[in-house]
Amino acid sequence: MLRDITIGQYYAVESPIHRLDPRVKLAGTLLYIVSLFVAEGIICYLLAAVFLGLVVRLSKVPLKYMVRGLKSIVFLLLLSVSFNIFLTEGRVIFQVGFLRITVEGLVIAAFMAVRLILLILGSTLMTLTTTPNNLTDGLEKSLGFLNKIHVPVHDMAMMMSIALRFIPILIEETDKIMKAQMARGADFESGNIIKKAKAMVPLLVPLFVSAFRRASDLAMAMEARCYHGGEGRTKMKPLHYNGRDLMVYGILIVYLAVMIGLRIAMPV
């Protein structure tokens, strides 16, 4: 059950997407998100979906694996969809009390759901195809200009990569503690919400203890290797753009341009 969380995890295979410069992938994700908010009307969404589908195909990450990761946002998805269904003004087709469903509401909710799903899949794909180390390097380099105004870019990037690295570790740990407590008769599934929240205590306390222990171990290990922040730190594999990366930038810009063009050309 917990293994289903795929957000923030790296999926290790060889693919053209995996080999791309992390900065390209970061920019690509950002552009893709922008394009989703620019999109309006069925053709735009279709284009966005096809584009993502192609990239997923190229990345060799099984779609099934990615879709499993969507389970964790089902609640959020349902919430926003139901808000849109019930709270949009327009032609009423169904009414119970103050709740009414309108044609416009259904349409907006459907687009909203598609937009959210594509958004999550798109950003999941970035972390699935980029190692946390690469991601940090990419972020650090692309945001390097902020250093001039004394934003601690390196520190923030390092924190982010550690946080990402810890997701699978903590998931595994949670799984283990959960099983250990289940072996002692703990029940995490039945009961009402209060009972369920109470049942979390035997899980959360050991999890926090272990997270703190791991964090302090990691800090010690980093200091033992003379880590003292970003100043004067050199890279073993500095990032360099090559031809393919530039080509992808080109494709991305064309994609966004087409999206904007479609939006303007097709009034809703």
Binding site: K179, M182, A183, G185, P202
Partner: protein
């Protein structure tokens, strides 16, 4: 009272590019009162196998019977199974969470829905079994030493009064004294409370000393299932699986090669001593 596994397969991450076949067609029967040791190198499927035994994970295919009842049946009580088959995980001290030792040990019996007195009695008994007296009851489990924490955690499982006790490397990371104490405690439980014990271990010496039956796993498969003496006769095959026989067995084999008429079935230092003394006496006569 027995646990029976029939053709149990378990696959991790079946949908991804790297599925792991953790147990591969495992069939076993575990009888009452046995002291079984389970060995195999890291990743051989031991931990996966033992989690099947109290229903924490369900086999991808295959069936598990507890006292003749299929544990996958809808009317089978998981709660009862987990109270009868106690599982002590690796580094069990990581599961401690209560403010004091006594309350933590009470967690298991409390989940069984027992009466207040019964819960306290069981917790007391369990703590006594692992050799912790009343002075520990009100201490925070997080302030104890590693060995003591582990005893508290083991007591937490013993308080469920299991009939089968499974321990996954209970001595990992302990000093030799702490190790012997825990294993002697386990042996005592086996002898006096007639518990069935399944011990996962990496120490061939410990295995030879305590177990009556030895199950060897390799790449998810059961390779050997016999008495330690019989299994250790295959020491060459064990080596190809990243395992070995006890040191004294090697010494016995070396002595044999040197022309001594020694019984190479010795697996513990005690047995080796007797055997060597026997040869010595034969010579001097």
């Amino acid at each position: 009272m027995s646990i029976k596994l029939e053709h149990v397969n378990y696959i991790y991450e079946p949908d991804t590019a790297f599925p792991v076949h953790a147990t591969d067609d495992v069939s076993l029967e575990i009888h009452d009162g046995e002291f079984i040791a389970l060995i195999g190198h890291t990743g051989s499927g031991k931990s996966t196998l033992i989690q099947h035994l109290n229903g924490l994970i369900h086999p991808t295919s295959g069936t598990i019977y507890y006292n003749g009842k299929n544990i996958a049946d809808a009317d089978f009580s998981m709660k009862e199974l987990r109270s009868k088959v106690g599982l002590v995980f690796q580094y069990p001290e990581h599961q401690l969470f209560e403010m004091d030792v006594f309350t933590d040990v009470c967690f298991g019996p409390k989940n069984l829905g027992l009466s207040e007195e019964e819960i306290e009695q069981r917790a007391k008994d369990a703590l006594e079994m692992v050799g912790l007296d009343e002075s520990y009851y009100k201490q925070s489990p997080f302030e104890l030493s590693g060995g003591q924490k582990r005893r508290v955690a083991i007591a937490g499982v013993l308080a469920m009064k299991p009939e089968v006790l499974i321990l996954d490397e209970p001595t990992a990371g302990l000093d030799p004294k702490g190790r012997d104490e825990i294993l002697d405690q386990v042996a005592w439980l086996h002898k006096n409370s007639h518990m069935t014990i399944i011990l996962v271990s990496h120490s061939m010496e410990d295995v030879a000393r305590y177990a009556q039956r030895l199950i060897v796993m390799n790449k998810g498969k059961v390779m050997f299932d016999a008495t330690p003496v019989e299994v250790f006769r295959h020491y060459k095959e064990l080596e190809t699986m990243g395992l070995a026989a006890p040191q004294v067995t090697y010494i016995a084999h070396a002595l044999k090669e040197h022309g001594l008429d020694i019984n190479t079935d010795v697996t513990t230092v005690e047995e080796a001593k007797k055997e060597i003394l026997r040869l010595w006496r034969q010579r001097t006569c």
